[in-house]
């Protein structure tokens, strides 16, 4: 089952995402209220007519483990470590979002057991959750109502309907009468149930009625509040955000902007966006990679954690204290180090507790491209991987999907050999036509990283003192093509590219929406990146712009059949 070169080339170049999907050529066409907005009436090549307020379908998603942990922590103070034992999250694109992977018996059981443990624990401090003294509740009805109105609203991220309140009332009554539970125990059961309710467990955005012949609907205030809080904070809305939803403030552009500004100024945004870029850069893999002790002794759990923290400190500074430019993310030559990382970067750690900021050699280091974390993740235990490193640039920064190798190819890397350079050992990828179609897309970028060993240390030679040639080339991109030496020069090609900006926009939007952007979403997302290069893209502004996009504020109506 050998593939021909031509099929591989077709597959490899059929990678267009935002770029080829159309909606281009509208830079500056928005109005003052929505400067990045797109005028109606243009069609994408897929034949989607870009009207106002276009958006894709918003499928039901379940909270990820991280979202569950942080949401329950906001509600009750701690998740008691429950979420870390939940079954694995499912991802779309680079990001976990549980769009697929429905609640199996195991997941339902895990949610049930977690709710039992959390409600039992919370029952001990019930007075902090209910508006009465649980030992002497007095008017129980008022206390239950108050609990459902306050705690219930926070847990459901919207007020409960009368039907829902009625259900909890019936549950409470049954516990009080049939099981003769005291007030506190009955409340524990209500709390237990709330923590398993679909309104809590899922991101729910149901129903909606279209106006006229519209196919999309504005997401409601509470739905938008949840979209915002899980995008920007990775957790539930706070009381102010719920209040903005209730008052209708979020419905207006100004109200939305004010809330987004407030949220980005809040510390929760730092943690929230770490989840996004961490998944984008695959930082979770730090916990599962290994490094052969014969060339690097000491890649253990603590090292894995500090590799991650170092990168987070770097990105956080760019995002929150620096100019937030994509260019800076890809080129800045500073880093945050402890002793381990200082050793990797070949610097001395400045005195002081915790990670310290250091300047690295700008001829050697280029932002995230040469972070120890990224270099280590995109390498084998024992040797570098031009394939992984090239694939990382292609998939995560250029959004080009690479086809899998043909079914009968041995995908093991060539064995290390101190008498040959990595470039020489991987030469078959360039000469064998079956390999070349894809590998020239990956290896030719990845070989440019050869001066960075499998944990990211800079080196001039490899093996038996063999000089390293770090020349590389990007081909078949939209506008980043070119030859380069090493990641510093590579970063300049990327910085001048609009494709990198479009890709970053797509990655952020995929995370924000919890789905691959549909053509309808692209109508408002594409204009965000049109004409921009990485030197011009402000990542904080990108986050803001996504929250203001039609894709984020609307969703496509789906047919809802009548239920029996």
């Amino acid at each position: 089952m050998r593939k021909t070169l031509s099929t591989l080339l077709v597959a490899a170049t059929a990678v267009a995402t935002l770029q080829a999907a159309g909606c281009v050529g509208s830079i500056g066409a928005g109005d003052e209220d929505n400067p990045l907005g797109k005028p109606p009436g243009e069609k994408t090549p897929q034949g989607v007519e870009c009207k106002a307020n276009q958006a894709g379908e918003a499928p039901l998603r379940r909270l990820t483990r991280a979202e569950y942990r942080r949401t329950v922590t906001d509600l009750l103070g701690s998740d008691l470590g429950q979420a870390e034992h939940f079954a694995i999250d499912a991802s779309v694109g680079s990001f976990y979002n549980n769009t697929n992977a429905p609640v199996t018996v195991l997941l339902a059981t895990q949610l049930m057991e977690a709710a039992e443990a959390l409600s039992a624990s919370a029952a001990a401090t019930l007075d902090t959750l209910v508006p009465c003294d649980p030992a002497a509740p007095g008017d129980e009805q008022a206390c239950l109502d108050g609990f459902l109105d306050s705690f219930g609203k926070r847990a459901y991220r919207r007020p409960l309907s009368d039907a829902e309140k009625g259900r909890y009332q019936a549950l409470f009554d049954r516990m009080r009468t049939e099981l003769s539970y005291g007030f506190g125990d009955a409340m524990r059961v209500v709390l237990n149930t709330i923590l398993q309710a679909p309104a809590f467990v899922y991101h729910v955005e149901p129903g909606g009625t279209a106006e006229g012949d519209a196919t999309t609907v504005r997401v409601g205030g509470y739905e938008l509040a949840s979209r915002l809080s899980y995008f920007l904070w990775g957790t539930m809305p706070d009381d102010d955000l719920l209040a903005a939803a209730e008052s209708g403030d979020l419905d207006s552009d100004e109200g939305l902007k004010a809330e987004v500004d407030r949220m980005l100024d809040d510390d929760r945004a730092k943690e929230g966006l770490r989840a996004m870029y961490g998944q984008w850069m695959m930082l979770e893999k730090l916990a599962v990679i290994t490094k052969d002790p014969s060339f690097y002794d000491g890649y253990d759990e603590a090292a894995a954690a500090v590799f991650r923290e170092g990168t987070e400190a770097f990105v956080d500074e760019v995002l929150w204290e620096g100019d937030a430019r994509l260019e800076t993310l890809l080129t800045a030559s500073f880093a945050y180090v402890d002793e381990t990382l200082a050793d990797i970067y070949g610097v001395t750690k400045p005195a002081g507790e915790g990670l310290q900021r250091v300047e690295l050699d700008p001829e050697q280091r280029a932002g995230i491209l040469t972070q120890a974390s990224v270099m280590a993740i995109q390498a084998h235990a024992y040797q570098t991987s031009p394939v992984f490193r090239g694939k990382f640039v292609r998939e995560r920064l250029l959004c080009q999907t690479l086809p899998s190798p043909p079914g009968d190819v041995d995908v093991s890397p060539p064995e290390p050999d101190p008498t040959l350079t990595t470039r020489e050992r991987f030469a078959a990828h360039q000469t064998d036509p079956v390999c070349r179609g894809c590998h020239e897309l990956m290896d030719n970028i990845g070989l440019g990283f050869e001066k960075y060993d499998p944990v990211g240390r800079y080196r001039e030679t490899e093996g038996d003192d063999l000089a390293i040639d770090d020349s590389g080339e990007i081909i078949k991109s939209t506008d980043a093509d070119g030859k380069f030496h090493g990641p510093v020069e590579l970063s300049k090609l990327l910085v001048g590219s609009n494709q990198v900006v479009a890709c970053t926009t797509k990655q952020f939007a995929t995370y924000a929406l919890g789905r691959d952007p549909a053509d309808e979403d692209l109508c408002s997302l594409e204009p965000l990146s049109v004409g921009l290069t990485a030197s011009e893209l402000d990542l904080r502004q990108l986050v803001v712009a996504i929250t203001r996009s039609d894709a984020f504020r609307n969703r496509q109506l789906v047919t809802v059949e009548t239920c029996q």
Partner: protein, 429 residues
């Protein structure tokens, strides 16, 4: 669209509703005729076939030697291909191959979001016989948590993940034995009231969703009703095992202990007839960082060794991979010997089981998806002839899966990718 219809739950036939702990240790408490069970034992990164496949007259080699005492109750198989897994476009990784193990279909979805391509054989069987036991199926993992390659699925894009904590399995299996009847009634009434409320909430939401989301919520509703069934289920007589205080079994070197405890729970659950369909998944093949420190001179991970990312000669590589797969053979031997030690009727529980040891690939280095090696233990109540070594010479794995279904009393003549579904494999009976 499938909707669950509440099954009539009858309880274990002919047995006391009261738990009888510790009275008849190592006897199965199941009914007559003995129930049949399927257990899938899945290990990662393929094998080293030259050292796996028995030589000459079915003489077990270096990997399977630990199974020598059980030779009369096992068969060794090869020549079975994951045919669907080789269909273009081939997702070249370990985890799509895990999907093919019990599903026999290529996964669905894009490169970063592959989901299973359809129902797996364990769920196919559980959907037919799961109503007869408290737990329709049990899925256990050995340190297969944060990263895990799923092998079981309810349907396309509906993966069934395993439970990694044996103490949780213990709790679910046995916590309601030995509980005062009044207290048990109270717990059940509370849980059922909660589930009724959730049922109402889910039902409400379901009616406000489109078709795709309704399908997802139907799975959730099915799960809630399965839990209701578990709560309603009348416990039969059962020897409740002793598990001891919970300890964290998440560290690298806890791996054998975590595996042993999961196998103990599975054996105890089967003996009490709490379930008849089980999968047990050991770690995963996605660059798993586990090192087998308890083996002599195996300083590398199985994945790095399989791909020889570590730069050793082939002799060293095969020697280390052989030690690792032999370790899994020892674990498999532990499980089946344990099942064989539980009397049931005139034989043992193992005699009424089909215990299948499967690898996601035949060779982890080349991600080879044909000529898979298997060990099949137990005759599944006489359905399989044991003590054989059979090379099927390129049969589709869907045939093996259908043979398992037939043996379990769930006649199935069509399964997996229709291009390769040619009925159950002949030659095992």
């Amino acid at each position: 669209m499938k909707r669950y219809h509440r099954r009539a739950v009858l309880g274990s036939l002919g047995l006391s509703a009261v738990a009888l702990p510790f009275l008849r240790s190592l006897d199965s408490h199941a009914q007559t005729p003995a129930p049949k069970r399927l257990i899938v034992f899945a290990t990662p990164n393929g094998t080293w076939m030259d050292n796996f496949w028995p030589n000459g007259q079915c003489n077990l080699g270096p990997i399977l030697e630990p199974l020598q005492n059980m030779m009369s109750k096992i068969s060794v198989l090869r020549g079975i291909d994951h045919k669907a897994a080789s269909k273009d476009p081939v997702p070249k990784d370990h985890w799509p191959d895990n999907y093919n193990m019990l599903i026999a279909r290529q996964p669905v979805g894009g490169p970063d979001s592959f989901g299973p391509g359809g129902i797996s054989i364990d769920q196919h069987i559980a959907s037919a016989i799961g109503g007869e036991t408290k737990f329709a199926s049990q899925h256990s993992g050995v340190q297969c948590g944060g990263y895990c390659n799923i092998i079981s699925a309810l349907d396309a894009n509906q993966p069934v993940a395993p439970e990694n904590n044996p103490y949780k399995v213990y709790e679910r299996f046995f916590s309601d034995f030995n509980v005062d009847e009044d207290e048990l009634a109270r717990i059940r009434a509370e849980k059922k009231s909660i589930l009724d409320t959730l049922d109402g909430e889910l039902g409400d939401l379901r009616c406000r969703l489109g078709t795709d989301d309704r399908d997802k919520l139907d799975v959730h509703l099915d799960s809630i009703r399965e839990i209701e069934k578990q709560i309603d289920f009348q416990n039969g007589a059962c020897t409740v095992p002793i598990i001891g205080a919970e300890t964290d079994l998440g560290d690298n070197d806890d791996y054998p202990a975590a595996g042993k405890l999961q196998m103990d729970m599975i054996a105890a659950g089967l003996a009490c007839d709490l379930t008849r369909v089980v999968t047990l998944q050991w770690r995963h093949g996605n660059g798993d960082p586990l090192t087998y420190n308890w083996l002599d001179n195996v300083p590398y991970t199985q994945h790095d060794l399989a791909h020889n990312n570590v730069g050793v000669d082939v002799g060293t590589q095969s020697g280390m991979l052989t030690k690792i797969d032999r370790f899994y053979a020892e674990q498999f031997a532990y499980l089946i010997e344990k099942l064989d030690g539980i009397k049931e009727g005139d034989g043992t529980v193992l005699d009424n089981c089909a215990v299948l040891w499967a690898h996601e690939q035949s060779d982890g280095g080349s991600h080879k998806r044909n000529d898979h090696p298997y060990v099949l233990a137990g005759s599944c109540g006489g359905a399989f002839k044991t003590g054989q070594c059979i090379d099927f010479g390129g049969a589709a794995n869907s045939g093996l899966l259908m043979a398992l279904a037939h043996a379990m009393g769930v006649p199935t003549d069509d399964f997996g990718d229709p291009d390769f579904s040619n009925g159950p494999l002949n030659g095992l009976g």
